[in-house]
Amino acid sequence: MKSKHKFPLHPMSKPIDGAMGKTGTWSTFKPVFDDKKCIKCGICEIFCAENCVVRDENGYPDFLLDYCKGCGVCEVECPTGAIEMVKK
């Protein structure tokens, strides 16, 4: 039986968002953000291991929950307590 698509010779891909699918489904906790406490320091963006904190046009963090694995490093590192991890 022949495959309908061409099977690659070895593992390879073109880089795209979420080549492994929506890894955010793996998480138990998600970050909840309070913009009143946020000082726009960007520490959460720097520390996020999955690059799923991006800044919006006003400089506030925006969390890409499709790929957030819920590790909580942003909550720990946030100097003003603006991020809280809550059970999904």
Partner: protein, 404 residues
């Protein structure tokens, strides 16, 4: 006209890389391999060869460089020994399964502990499941030719697998021998430049390699690599025949058959020790014993079918292992047994006797090899666990070694 030069086996390996017009070389020095990269450095210093030579801090990085360069489309080369090879073991398996046609010279050497720099094939044989083809060379000329033929086979689209071209430490690596340095034009004609078509280095259209492969696809990738090994058996034979047309001589492909016609007793060995085995065969023939040698040039892919065919009429097989699989037997011994004793074929299979010989560089004499015939003929049983030691210094061993 081809030039004849008198060089060591290590230098011969470097000539093989130069003649193959390798584009990227990365290597880290280790005794007894250092002479290979010294000679390559000499070529670069004198201006006769200009590959990209990338210096790194370890063998692990060496193979990572070769893997990346090969994926980007360059012909790549390296050389190492024993502990260096094992330090690179992670990338060894990685590159075997990433289907990159690197050729790597292995100067076979003992593995620690005890610290040993002398000839022993356990290093590369222990890595036989890594997806690399393995060719074992008998002398300096063969490492030149196996390197050129190595790229011919490795870069074939039906194969695309890396290859180790192995020589024994000191017996070959540091022994001076005359070698023929083939005309570059003839080599270029035999081995055209490497063209990797399915992966390319393009900043505007990047690719990712080494992706996660979950259980839905992992088996399929392994099946593809395994099939490539199977394909290599035929491609190795074709590359050998084509080599003969181009250069006037060849090696026999997967195996070299020495006086095998009508042989009732057949030696099996790899590498430089086969020179001594051939002398023992000639001696036995003079004494009216029908003996031959099957020199396993390739251990991967393993010449399963050839072994079955050639051992059909043999009564006894004598396997020399310059390696040991601790707790089992010699590695070559168990592989030969598995070729003979599967599919319920053991009925008329010969008695297969294994010998541990010359581990860690202990010399093995023609007389000792000849004596293996007598020991084998006296052996009634066959099978695993019946390995005999040759040259074991029993007087040096503690008493409890001999207790039951």
């Amino acid at each position: 006209m081809p030039e004849v030069v008198i060089v060591t086996g290590n230098q011969a390996a470097a000539y093989g890389a130069k003649l193959s017009q390798v584009e990227v070389i990365s290597a880290y020095p280790i005794t007894p391999q250092t002479g290979v990269i010294e000679q390559i450095s000499d070529f670069i210093a004198e201006g006769s060869y200009n590959p990209e030579f990338i210096r790194v801090e370890s063998e692990h990085s060496v193979l990572a460089v070769c893997l990346g360069a090969s994926l980007a489309g360059a012909r790549t080369y390296t050389a190492t020994s024993a502990n260096g090879l094992l330090y690179a073991a992670e990338i060894l398996h990685w590159s075997g399964n990433a289907r990159v046609p690197i050729v790597m010279a292995i100067i076979n050497r003992g593995i620690t502990a005890g610290w040993n720099i002398w000839a022993d094939q356990t290093d590369s044989l222990s890595q036989r499941d890594s997806g690399w083809m393995q060719v074992y060379c008998e002398d300096a000329q063969e490492i030149v030719d196996a390197t050129i033929m190595g790229y011919k086979v490795a870069e074939n689209k039906k194969v695309l697998l890396p290859m180790m071209a192995c020589i024994d430490a000191f017996y070959v690596s540091h022994t001076f021998e005359p070698i023929t340095v083939h005309d570059q034009d003839l080599v270029d004609d035999y081995l055209p430049p490497y063209q990797r078509e399915h992966t390319v280095l393009d900043y505007d259209d990047p690719m990712t390699f080494g992706n996660i492969v979950d259980p839905n696809y992992y088996i399929e990738f392994k099946a593809l690599t395994h099939k490539a090994m199977e394909n290599a058996k035929k491609v190795i034979g074709e590359a050998d025949e084509e080599f003969k047309k181009q250069f006037g001589y060849s090696y026999g492909g997967l195996v070299e058959k020495y006086r095998l016609e009508d042989a009732e007793i057949i030696y099996v060995g790899l590498g430089s020790i086969c020179g001594n085995i051939k002398e023992a065969v000639d001696l036995a023939r003079q004494n009216g014993i029908n003996v031959g040698l099957l020199r396993l040039r390739f251990m991967r892919p393993f010449p399963f079918e050839t072994i079955r065919q050639e051992f059909k009429n043999a009564s006894h097989v004598v396997v020399l292992d310059k390696d040991i699989s601790l707790g089992m037997s010699g590695i070559v011994h168990s592989e030969v047994l598995s070729a003979l004793y599967s599919n319920g074929s053991s009925g008329d299979a010969p008695i297969v006797k294994g010998f541990f010989t010359g581990l860690g560089g202990r010399d093995v004499t023609i007389k000792e090899i000849y004596r293996m015939i007598d020991i084998t003929l006296k052996e009634k049983e066959s099978g695993l666990g019946l390995e005999s030691w040759i040259g074991l210094r029993e007087d040096e061993l503690p008493e409890d070694y001999f207790s039951k």
